[in-house]
C-alpha cells in the first residue's frame, strides 16, 4: 500500500517540487523495462537463463506499431494482441529450444535477439532500418458513453498519462507474477528449478509447464515493448538489441533471483543509476560498471538479499 501511494501520489508531487520533468520519462521507462524484466525473472524461475527478452519486446513493439499505423486499430486493442503475438512466437520457438539447458539456452536466446533484429531489417512490413515512426498517441476509449481512458493526444501532459499507464501495467504485472509464484504452478516451477528429471518423474508435465512459463514471460516482454514503442512513437530494429536483452537479465540478477520484486528494484537501480550518473560525463560508464561489479562482488545474491540477512520476512 505504501508502495502504491508513493508511486501514484508521492512521485508526481516530488517531481513537481523539484521541477525535474525528465524524470517522468525515466520512471516510465523503468516501469516498462521492469515489466519485461519480470518475464525474464519468470524464466529464471524454471531454471532457464533468458537473454532473449529483447527479441520479444521488439516483436511486441512492431506488432503494436503495425496494427496502429497500418491497420488503424486502437492502441489499447493492439497492446494485448502484441503480448499474445509474442507469446505465440514464444510457443513456436520454445518447443524446440526449451529442451536446451543452462548456458546453451542462454546463448540461443541471445542469438534469438539477433535473429529478430535482423528479421526486422529484412522484412518489408517492418520498413527495414527506417523503422516505423510517428505512431499516433493512444486514443481514448469509452464504453457506453463513459470515458474510461481519455485520449492521450488531447491531454496537456502526456508524460504524466504515460507514467500512470506504465505504473498501472507494472503493478498488474507484478501482482500477476506474485499470484503465479504463490500458486500451484509456482510450486511446480520451483520443483523444476531444482531438478527437472525429479520433477518429471513425480509426474509434473515439465514440457507443458516450461512452454507455458516461457509464453507468459514473452507476453510480458511483448507488452513492455509495445508500450515502449507507443511512448517513443517509433520503432526501429535497433530499439531492442542484444544489449537490452542482456540488461533485462542483469536487472533480475541485480535485484535478486529469489525475490518476486527483485527485477523491479533491479531495473530501477540500473536504469535510474545510469541516468543519475549522466552528470559524470565520460566517466559515467566507468563509475557505473564499477558500482555494478562492487554490488555483485559483495552481494552476489542480489540487492534484496540485504533485507534477507536482516531477518525480514520473505
Amino acid at each position: 500500500m505504501v508502495f502504491l501511494f508513493v508511486v501514484f501520489v508521492g512521485v508526481p508531487i516530488l517531481i513537481n517540487i523539484t521541477g525535474r520533468w525528465d524524470f517522468y520519462f525515466t520512471l516510465t521507462s523503468v516501469a516498462l523495462l521492469a515489466i519485461a524484466s519480470a518475464g525474464v525473472w519468470l524464466t529464471f524461475y524454471i531454471g532457464r537463463i533468458n537473454i532473449g527478452q529483447g527479441a520479444f519486446a521488439l516483436i511486441g513493439a512492431y506488432v503494436s506499431a503495425i496494427l496502429v499505423v497500418k491497420a488503424g486499430w486502437s492502441f489499447w486493442v493492439s497492446l494485448p494482441l502484441a503480448g499474445l503475438f509474442a507469446a505465440v512466437v514464444a510457443v513456436v520457438i520454445g518447443l524446440p529450444i526449451l529442451r536446451l539447458r543452462g548456458v546453451y539456452f542462454a546463448m540461443i536466446t541471445l542469438v534469438l535477439t539477433q535473429v529478430v533484429t535482423l528479421t526486422a531489417l529484412a522484412l518489408p512490413i517492418t520498413n527495414g532500418a527506417k523503422g516505423i515512426s510517428s505512431i499516433p498517441l493512444p486514443s481514448g476509449v469509452s464504453l457506453y458513453g463513459l470515458q474510461i481512458i481519455p485520449d492521450f493526444g488531447t491531454m496537456e501532459s502526456t508524460k504524466l498519462a504515460f507514467y500512470y499507464t506504465a505504473c498501472i501495467l507494472m503493478i498488474l504485472t507484478y501482482a500477476a507474477l506474485y499470484r503465479l509464484v504463490n500458486s500451484r504452478l509456482g510450486h511446480l516451477c520451483r520443483s523444476m528449478q531444482q531438478n527437472e528429471e525429479l520433477a518429471s518423474s513425480i509426474g509434473v508435465n515439465i514440457s507443458y509447464i516450461r512452454i507455458l512459463v516461457f509464453a507468459i514471460s514473452s507476453f510480458f516482454g511483448g507488452i513492455g515493448g509495445a508500450m515502449f514503442g507507443s511512448i517513443s512513437q517509433s520503432v526501429y530494429p535497433s530499439s531492442f538489441q542484444v544489449a537490452d536483452s542482456v540488461n533485462f537479465m542483469l536487472n533480475c540478477f541485480l535485484g535478486g533471483l529469489g525475490y518476486v520484486f527483485g527485477p523491479m528494484l533491479g531495473t530501477l537501480v540500473l536504469y535510474f543509476g545510469w541516468d543519475v550518473l549522466f552528470e559524470l560525463g565520460k566517466y559515467q560508464m566507468l563509475v557505473y560498471s564499477l558500482i555494478l561489479i562492487a554490488v555483485i562482488r559483495f552481494l552476489p545474491n542480489g540487492l534484496l538479499s540485504l533485507r534477507l540477512r536482516k531477518g525480514a520476512e520473505k
Binding site: I97, V103, V111, S289, L292, I293, P300, N301
Partner: protein
C-alpha cells in the same frame, strides 16, 4: 571457388582462436565470459600502441598484448570471479559479473584509447596472386599461419604439459581434480589467464588487417558464443571446429548471397537455431554440459 576456400580458412583460423579462449574459460569455471570480445579489443589496442605508435617490432607488440591480457585475466579471476563463485547462491550470478566487467573494460578502452578506429602499418607488403583466381595479401597469409601455429601450440600445451593435464582434469571434474592434488584455485587462475591471453593474441594479430575500434567487442563476443555453441561448450576440439565452420559459412555467405543484402547472418543464425534444436549439445559437446 578457391577464393572462397582461402577466405574461409583465413576467417576460420581467426575465429577458432577466439572461440578457444572462451571455451577454455567456460570449461574451467563454468563462466560465460561476456567480456571476451572486450579482451580481444584490448589486445588489439596494445599492439596498436606498441607497434603502430612506438614503432617497436611487431613480435614484441604481440608478446606484450599476450602478457597484458594474461595479467588482466589472472587479476579478474583472482579478485572478482573466484570470490563471487564462492559466495553466490546460484552459479549464474557470474554472468552479471561478466557483463559488469565487459562494461568496465569498454569504459577503460574508451578512456585510455579513445573511440576512433585505429589501424597499423602492414607487417608485410605484397599480394599473393594465383592466376587471378586466388588473391590473398601476404600479411593475411602470415596472420593465418601464425593463428594456426598458436592453435597447434595451444593444443600441444593442453595435451603434453603438466599444466595442460591439470587444466583438463579441472575441466572434467573439479572436485575429483582437487582430490587428486591439483591446486584448483591456482589452475583456475592460470586457465583464465590463458583464455584471456588467446583473446589478446587474436586482437594483436587482427589489428594488422582489420584495425581495431571500441565497438568491436560486443559483436565479437556474440560470434564467439556462436562458435562455442556449434562445437559444443567447453570442448576444445569443438571450439576449433565451430570457428572453422563459422568462418566458412561467413565466407560462402558473403560471396554467394551478397546481392541479396545483409541476410548472411540472418541465415547463419536461423540455421544455428535449427541445428541446436536437433543437436542441443553441439557437434562434440557432452549432453547438458
Amino acid at each position: 571457388m578457391e577464393q572462397i576456400i582461402a577466405n574461409g580458412v583465413y576467417l576460420g583460423s581467426q575465429y577458432a582462436m577466439i572461440a578457444l579462449g572462451l571455451t577454455l574459460i567456460f570449461a574451467l569455471m563454468n563462466v560465460l565470459n561476456f567480456a571476451h570480445g572486450q579482451m580481444y579489443v584490448i589486445g588489439g589496442f596494445v599492439t596498436y600502441t606498441i607497434y603502430g605508435q612506438w614503432g617497436l617490432p611487431f613480435i614484441v607488440a604481440l608478446a606484450m598484448s599476450c602478457v597484458t591480457l594474461a595479467i588482466l585475466g589472472a587479476l579478474i579471476e583472482k579478485l572478482l570471479f573466484a570470490p563471487v563463485i564462492k559466495g553466490s547462491a546460484r552459479e549464474e550470478s557470474t554472468m552479471l559479473l561478466a557483463a559488469g566487467i565487459a562494461f568496465l573494460l569498454d569504459a577503460l578502452i574508451l578512456l585510455i584509447f579513445g573511440e576512433k578506429q585505429r589501424g597499423v602499418p602492414k607487417i608485410v607488403n605484397g599480394v599473393f596472386n594465383y592466376d587471378f583466381r586466388l588473391i590473398m595479401p601476404y600479411d593475411r597469409i602470415l596472420v593465418c599461419a601464425l593463428a594456426v601455429l598458436s592453435v597447434v601450440s595451444f593444443i600441444a600445451l593442453m595435451q603434453y604439459t603438466k599444466t595442460g593435464r591439470a587444466l583438463r582434469a579441472l575441466a572434467q571434474d573439479r572436485v575429483a581434480a582437487q582430490l587428486m592434488g591439483v591446486n584448483v584455485d591456482r589452475y583456475s587462475m592460470i586457465g583464465f589467464a590463458l583464455g584471456a591471453l588467446l583473446a589478446g593474441l587474436v586482437g594483436g594479430l587482427l589489428v594488422t588487417i582489420t584495425g581495431v575500434n571500441l565497438g568491436m567487442g560486443g559483436p565479437t563476443s556474440i560470434k564467439a558464443f556462436m562458435m562455442v555453441m556449434i562445437g559444443g561448450a567447453g570442448v576444445i576440439s569443438g571450439a576449433i571446429w565451430g570457428g572453422i565452420i563459422l568462418g566458412f559459412m561467413e565466407a560462402i555467405g558473403l560471396a554467394v548471397l551478397s546481392q541479396y543484402g545483409d541476410i548472411t547472418y540472418l541465415l547463419i543464425f536461423v540455421s544455428l537455431m535449427i541445428f541446436l534444436a536437433i543437436r542441443p549439445q553441439g557437434l562434440m559437446g557432452k549432453p547438458w554440459g
